[in-house]
Symmetry: C2
Subunit: 136 residues, 2 copies
Amino acid sequence: MISIGQLSKRTGVKIPTIRYYEQMGLIDAPERSVGNQRRYTKEGLSRLSFIRHSRELGFPLEDIRELLELSQHPEKPCGDAHGIANRHLNDVRDRIAKLTRLEGELKRIADCDSDNVAACAVIETLADHKLCETEH
Amino acid sequence: MISIGQLSKRTGVKIPTIRYYEQMGLIDAPERSVGNQRRYTKEGLSRLSFIRHSRELGFPLEDIRELLELSQHPEKPCGDAHGIANRHLNDVRDRIAKLTRLEGELKRIADCDSDNVAACAVIETLADHKLCETEH
DNA sequence: TATAATCCCTCTAGTAGCTATAGATACAAG
DNA sequence: CTTGTATCTATAGCTACTAGAGGGATTATA
């Protein structure tokens, strides 16, 4: 039986965030102490770790809700879980591709060595899309 | 003198978003038609394009506000603009690095070919951080 | 046992950057 | 003149939290 503060320290999830997850129904409302403070068990800890980990991997809360549900039913086929992970993987790849193009763009405009705004590539590029080297 | 709908089509910025930018003070309130509809000039168009482009490059609105301000004063030194772009470039590089690690992780867990949840790597990995190959 | 330091409670409101909705009005084409 | 589309304002909602106010609970030390 640990307090919310200890749970927070062990999982790295901030206290208000834990309460927020409870409110959103991602974790069960835990038992309370005599003085009405939350007291968590090992189950609470592992469930929150699952959530934390999934969030680090960038899954939105709604997906995590599904994944948690799936994880409670070990006999089910796991195609759904794969679907979610694959969908997210595609998303991540898209984002990497976009950001990589962006990096090139930004490097180019940040390298400008003029010394006033009139001749500055940063401003000029932002103002005129046609100067861009890549699509975005 | 073009309507908000035409402005939207030409810049690719949605109508409610244009109004939102006006409300946030990023673009000036334009003239109105007799019937109180917004009518934009070429200046409005280019300012909104600047914003659009900057957003595509991922700048937050507050940075764009500064960049717009700078672009109005061509005689100023452009060190500030470079600062903003460089700060953002670092940010983008961080995000790429994180997402790339993440991609590896996701690929690994999405490749699982077991057929029920009990033995599924997706679920297992999410539940147990120690199975991860990389830091995140 | 008293007290101070720390922890925790609920509730409300705020963040970024939009997006959606409702109900009313304006405008353009035929 | 009618019909259909475009636009108006105002308000509420979205994700995933975060911050603050005003109070009570728990724990460590004197």
